[in-house]
């Protein structure tokens, strides 16, 4: 299952719409980094609203994605983690440290928009 990646100005928006296998996640990682390079993106939003299970592999892959994008000079915001998923992640001991999170797509875009206009 491919994750659609949309370009919106300086930003990319990736929306996870279905259960992803490990192979899907790795494919998504590669596709997203390639798009960040191709579009010279300054920010990336990964929308996980539809994701129902975040296990150790998914969490590690998302951390890796955010770090790769950071090294590239852009910022990743993960949005839409459902409360039940957040609860399961904490119980399992999974952390998304050093990755910015926001409530939803609007909040994520606001975060990136504010950053880009403040001209940091």
């Amino acid at each position: 299952m491919e994750v659609p990646i949309l370009k919106q100005g300086d930003f990319l928006i990736a929306t996870v719409q279905a259960a992803l296998t490990d192979a899907d996640l790795l494919h998504f990682r590669t596709a997203l980094i390639q798009q960040v390079v191709r579009c010279r993106s300054r920010g990336v939003i990964v929308d996980l609203t539809s994701l129902d299970v975040m296990d150790s592999f998914a969490s590690r892959t998302l951390r890796d994605i955010a770090e790769m994008i950071r090294l590239r000079g852009a910022e990743t915001v993960i949005v839409g983690i459902q409360p039940e998923v957040a609860f399961a992640m904490v119980q399992l001991g999974l952390k998304l440290e050093n990755v910015t999170t926001a409530l939803d797509l609007d909040e994520g875009l606001a975060h990136l928009g504010l950053k880009s206009t403040s001209g940091a």
Partner: protein, 139 residues
């Protein structure tokens, strides 16, 4: 395995690939919803299945996950059994110790899975394989 009187609806999911991990957790989640578990608990169950199935693929390559509906007195629950004939765990107590695993790439994540469920057992023999039994009861 104390006092579990009735076992029904056994669902067997062979685990051979990352696709099977997704299949197993989806089946577990829908069984949980069917039995009336809250959506939060259904996600805990699905997450536990995902981790246990992942251990099978990573360490043993193949195995199976069995999902069963269990009853004890008036309570209903789900039993997850993840078993393989892989290399086994040399020191189960160490593997169950927090900090040995969790979010890093190494380790089995068993302490985390244990926190997701109500009852947890891990039986392993080097060279013969590993069986993890986890149970979650409906509130």
């Amino acid at each position: 395995m104390r006092n579990i009187q009735v076992v029904e609806n056994e669902i067997q999911v062979p685990i051979n690939s990352d696709q099977d991990i997704v299949t197993a957790r989806q089946k577990g989640r829908s069984l949980a919803i069917t039995l009336g578990f809250s959506s939060a608990d259904a996600i805990l169950i699905a997450t536990a299945i995902s981790e246990l199935a992942r251990n099978i693929v990573t360490y043993a390559r193949r195995g199976e996950v069995l999902l069963t509906t269990i009853h004890k007195s008036a309570r209903t629950g789900i039993q997850l059994v993840a078993r393989d004939s892989g290399p086994g765990i040399p020191d189960v107590n160490l593997a169950l110790r927090d900090g040995f695993s969790t979010s890093g790439s190494l380790g089995l994540g068993l302490p985390g899975v244990k926190r997701l469920v109500d009852e947890f057992e891990c039986i392993s023999e080097v060279g013969r394989g590993t069986t993890v039994i986890a149970r979650k009861w409906k509130l």
